[in-house]
């Protein structure tokens, strides 16, 4: 699936998008896999209360299922308007 990063999450991880092969069943399982990869991921995902997640472009929670999802996006709270 595609994993997307925005704003400071993108800056900390160092890329806007990547394709990830994963067996994770939920968002939090995907986060654990990413955290284990490298320090920059561990740093970006160190405080989940500072992050929001969207699965297939719908805002959701970290315990949401991701089976069959095409894209998962991580970003800070939004600041539009």
């Amino acid at each position: 699936m595609d994993v997307l990063y925005f704003a400071w999450v993108r800056e900390r991880i160092g890329l806007p998008k990547e394709t990830v092969e994963t067996k994770a069943a939920t968002v939090i399982e995907l986060v654990e896999e990413l955290r284990a990869r490298e320090e920059r991921y561990a740093l970006a995902f160190s405080d989940l209360s500072a992050l929001r997640v969207a699965v297939d472009q719908d805002l959701t929670d970290f315990d949401a299922p991701i089976n069959g999802a095409r894209e998962v996006a991580f970003f800070p709270p939004m600041t539009g308007g």
Binding site: F6, P76, P77, M78, T79, G80, G81
Partner: protein, 146 residues
């Protein structure tokens, strides 16, 4: 109902005139335009990042929710992304209704949800720093009004 996400500047007056001209038998038109403000350290540029695809979906959902909750004839939402400068328009909403209360309330609702439920992120380049704008608890609390 019209949702526009664009990098280019827009003419708020012209957009409002066109929106107004497109209505019939609407007794009330309300519009709000958000403008880039300068900051104490001096704003060089504000960069707005967004999530193409999700942005349009989220804005359309918010506009559709407003159409469901209030007696509206029409809704317009324009939101920019990319580099912006002080005094430039960032976004606008307009609502048309038979009645003033519905038009005002729906515009207020749209603004509250655009602030914290549409995937935009602002970064301020000032003469002192280059920082992402933090979300505010009061913006999150504002959603509870609805």
């Amino acid at each position: 109902m019209r949702v526009i996400v664009q990098e280019d500047a827009f003419d708020g007056g012209a957009e409002l005139n066109a929106f107004t001209a497109a209505q019939s038998n609407m007794g009330a038109i309300v519009s709000f335009t958000g403008i880039v403000r300068d900051v104490a350290a001096g704003l060089k540029q504000m960069d707005i990042e967004h999530y193409p695809g999700m942005t349009e979906r989220a804005l359309e959902q918010i506009a559709a929710d407003a159409m469901t909750r209030w007696d509206l004839g029409d809704v317009l939402v324009i939101h920019r992304y990319g580099p912006l400068h002080p005094d430039e328009p960032i976004m606008m909403v307009a609502t048309a209704s038979k009645h003033r209360k519905d038009a005002f309330e729906a515009a207020d609702f749209l603004m509250d949800f655009l602030k914290s439920r549409a995937p935009f992120w602002k970064k301020e380049q000032t003469f002192a720093s280059n920082d992402w704008v933090a979300s505010k608890q009061e913006d999150e609390d504002a959603l509870k009004r609805w």
